[in-house]
Amino acid sequence: MPKITFPARFELLDEIRDLVAHTARDGGFTEKDIYSLQLAADEAASNIIEHAYLGVADASIDISCDMQSDLIVITMHDTGQSFDPAKVKKPNLEADLSDRQIGGLGIYLMRKLMDEVSYESNLTGNLLTMTKRRR
């Protein structure tokens, strides 16, 4: 799986979304699913930039995006702060306006939009893997 290194800056989100859209379109996903995949990748990359690399300049994210038969597999590897998704509280979608929390929304959307989302942290850094099957 060829990996592309992106500077960990929000300005690169356009390119990251394009990479995912291109692969998904070639892979035969519907326009609706292509949008979902772009959004999930955006939320994932944004989280890495905002949290894993908080306060770090000149960081980068290695991203791969491939079709494996009818499955799209997106991976993002960073060398920033490790992250335990179990520690992120699920947003309360029933809360009224004043109580509505925004934190955790990105991960929540990723999990809803993708079939599987998994995190792995080790000495080389953090690896996020997201997959979605073409319908």
Binding site: S46, I49, P91, L97
Partner: protein, 111 residues
């Protein structure tokens, strides 16, 4: 992303064109904050030419809605939401937080 604000008698119509993500959301927020800072709390956000919005944009909408609704001084409504963006807003549980309109005339007229 392009933002234009039109001030009407009873509300501001803020049109956001293009894509709102973590890179462009700060500018989107700035436009919304400016309306509030100018004492305008009745806002219609025209999304007819909005191609894409991530949770960064949702955050900005939520913060502004809270501010607008404080002391019952107004609210933020959404206009002409595309199917893709509506689906994402629904997924995030946001659609119940905002009134929506199909066109700007109805939205502006509602204030």
């Amino acid at each position: 992303m392009e933002i234009t604000t039109q001030e009407f008698k009873h509300c501001d119509l803020i049109k956001v064109k293009g894509r709102v993500d973590s890179a462009t959301a700060p500018d989107f927020s700035k436009a919304l904050e400016k309306a509030n800072n100018d004492g305008h709390f009745k806002i219609a956000v025209d999304m007819s030419e909005l191609e894409y919005m991530s949770s960064a944009g949702f955050r900005a909408l939520l913060a502004t809605q809270r501010n607008c609704k404080k002391l019952n001084r107004g609210e933020l409504v959404l206009v002409s939401i595309s199917d893709r963006i509506r689906e994402a807003l629904e997924l995030a549980g946001f659609t119940e937080l905002f009134k929506t309109f199909d066109n700007t005339v109805d939205a502006v007229g509602s204030f």
